[in-house]
Amino acid sequence: MKSKTPIGLALASLFVLSLLLIACGDPTATTPAAATTTAATATTAAVTTTAAAPAATTAVAATTTTAPAATTAPAATTATAAKGKVVVASKDFPESIIIGEMYAAVLEQGGIPVERKMNLGTTAIAQAALVKGDISLYPEYTGTGAGVVLKLANPSNNAKQLFDQVASEYEKQFKLTWLDVAPYSNRNGVAVTKAVADKYKLKNLSDLAPVAKELRFASNPEFVGDRSAVDGLKSLQKTYSGFDFKEIVQVDIKLRYKALVDGKAEACVAFGSDGELAGYNLVWMEDDKDNFGPYQTGPVVRDDILAAYPNMKSLLNAVSAKLTTEKISALNWQVTGPDKKEAVDVAKTFLKTEGLLK
């Protein structure tokens, strides 16, 4: 044991050193996900090596101090962003990634240097990164912008009015521009299995509300978390009274439908353009009381980036014009269904078909 301690110490320090180098060199180390994984790997290293305890604790302390050090790096990227690359990002679910890839592809064709940061994280993370300048643009939904980002007290239920409300507030508060949005609306909602829909004769959310107590509900964290009252479960409970699900199975956003397929739940959070609705023969519950407003998607861009690359506007607007519910849900299904295609391929094939990409 005595002869092994210095070797253990040396290995541990080497490991920590390499983590420090990665953390300092890579701007993505600022995202909370990356920071927690680096901290987690550092702690696993500390557990597995049999080095003396004091060495392990200083190693962990050293890695956590590099995280704040790494956050100063992005300040430099905003300054050079105007001349440097345009960072195109997306949120962490297939539709967002596909649309993000479309934006990136047309911008590249338009001669703009692009860096991709797809699958970045949830709304909160993407918005924080955009305001900070770590990313230049990402696809956002008008309803989400209104409820989650701006926390508007009275968002309009009219699509055009909502867009105007959201766009002017974003410009005023964050110096961000909303370019054109796609014609389709991807609302939040609930889907149930066909068996359940037939059994209880469910067509819309009013039908589902009283029946919910017999059903298990698979949800992503946001829908039942602090977005619950905005456009999640609590908002449903307020508008429809009921929706007291027997059990809530909280899963990653990408695993909602898996829970239904596996028989772990009978209802799940669904979005209007999900490919799984048709693919798994599920029944979408109509929002008869209009609890969820319009959710149209468009690129939200930093003003300084738009000023540096004004041709961006026409390039991105051309993409949004082509997106309809049928088209986008078919694309979603190509990624999440049995084909399991890559989002970037699906996006590029679509653009070529629509004549937007050579």
């Binding site: 602090d226 899963v251 695993l255």
Partner: protein, 219 residues
């Protein structure tokens, strides 16, 4: 300090969900520990009697600790699906090594001359095991349980990724919504649970540790 108040308020507002998650977390942790105990203590007794084979078994059990639990979880997910089962498997794997290694080591460290004396007194193997070896090895075994307990309570937060519930739900919600107060609702109870387990088992370990001759003389 405000953030702690905010976190408490959030927990109170969502007390149903919170207590459910808390219960799930405890159940998962105790089940994993229970299974590991039932498997590893007898296994440790067996391996302490043998040489090479036990080294192999012990090193194999180390897999549970070396492979990150989240990787085990995600690897099991295609086979076992979502829910508490795969989480339980991953956590049990995590709890196995400390208990097995400590049982094995604790038993090996029993003074051979004490065992000789016991054999000389005419004790059967079973009597030796229950009256001499296990009581003497108990502090070390409890030390292993203590380590396993803290690791399992902390790692049970991962169950949320595959729909296994637990306090990890709040942690993920907090991360998703960039909301520290929600994050704390998950983090603080886990930390308190782990600390409580550590203190309780630490005290238990001290209680079962044999007194030194000096202490006995003073008493």
């Amino acid at each position: 300090m405000d953030i702690f108040v905010e976190a408490l308020t959030y927990a109170q507002e969502n007390s149903d969900t919170f207590w459910k998650a808390f219960g799930q977390h405890l159940t998962l942790s105790f089940l994993a520990l229970g299974i590991a105990l039932v498997v590893c203590v007898p296994l440790g007794i067996v391996t302490s009697r043998f040489g090479t084979v036990s080294r192999i078994i012990i090193n194999l059990s180390g897999v549970g600790r070396v492979i990150p639990s989240i990787a085990v979880l995600l690897a099991l997910y295609p086979v076992l699906g979502l829910g508490e089962q795969p989480a339980l498997v991953a956590l049990t794997l995590l709890a196995l090594p400390p208990i097995l290694i400590n049982t094995d080591t604790g038993l090996r460290e029993v003074d051979p001359s004490t065992l000789e004396a016991a054999r000389g007194m005419g004790m059967t193997t079973r009597q030796r095991l229950w009256q001499i070896e296990l009581p003497l090895a108990l502090p070390v075994i409890i030390g292993g349980i203590r380590t396993a307990c803290v690791e399992v309570i902390a790692s049970a937060t991962l169950a949320t990724f595959i729909g296994g519930g637990g306090l990890g739900d709040f942690i993920v919600q907090g991360l998703a919504g960039n909301s520290t107060k929600v994050l704390l609702v998950g983090v603080i109870p886990v930390a308190l649970l782990a600390l409580t387990a550590e203190l309780l088992l630490g005290t238990l370990q001290r209680l079962v540790s044999p007194r030194t001759p000096g202490e006995l003389r003073a008493a």
